[in-house]
Symmetry: C2
Amino acid sequence: MNTTRTYTIRQLTKEFSVTARTLRFYEDEGLIAPERRGQTRIYSGRDRARIILILRGRRVGFSLAEIREILDLYGVHDGGVTQLVHSRKKFAERIDTLERQKVDIDESLKELRKGIADIDGKLAPQQQAHAAE
Amino acid sequence: MNTTRTYTIRQLTKEFSVTARTLRFYEDEGLIAPERRGQTRIYSGRDRARIILILRGRRVGFSLAEIREILDLYGVHDGGVTQLVHSRKKFAERIDTLERQKVDIDESLKELRKGIADIDGKLAPQQQAHAAE
DNA sequence: TCGGCTCTTGACGTTGACGTAAAGGGAAGA
DNA sequence: TCTTCCCTTTACGTCAACGTCAAGAGCCGA
């Protein structure tokens, strides 16, 4: 396959709508480690995949420290049983927080939809044909 | 009903596991406006309800500025049609971002569960009875 | 009356996640 | 060769969301 495909920093900034500063910052923080051609960074498909995970983790509210921890977990699939059990626990913790978060989101959605319903009620006291956008 | 029930700052900090500094900060930012008995803050049931909304908004990743905007929307149920339509649009925007966020969360959950499955695979190559915690 | 507790208002400090400006290198096209 | 990009590092700046003193007021039981 094209596991040999590489990317420049500029390509990735455009693809993901982030600045070069951001990608360099993630590198400083140890979240990615692109190779170099001379000075210039060369991002592999693996780097790109990690960036996708990082950005999604960010969108769901994880801090970069938490994201780094999760990324590290994916790498530790060797190591002893103790390590594996520990990693499993960490994964389970993240799953729990995300599921709690889904509940919060559903609650918020309920509130917001109630807000819309209230408005629609005041917006169409007599008439009827004005539901969808 | 007991709409007359009031709360001290200390009670609320304990109930919601936040510091007094946080509640005062939210007041400075215009998110709540408790009354005063002399110098001391007296929180009403309505204040408490707003705090619940604020904390939940925070958990789902809204900034305080966004939360304040949403809270303001709930107050503007008067005003002209233009206002109402504008509020409705804002509500709809928030709903959209939350639904996109649910997708992100589901994606993350899939990844994390895959991580657990991988670990379980390496953790029990021969034996079978070792699933739940 | 005196600690001790909780409340208050400043006001400066901190942390995370970058933004932004300065100064320079290398390649490519006019 | 000169200008123009895009790349780099270094380093100080910024913004949100509080934390952390400092200094003082009010009240309550001993």
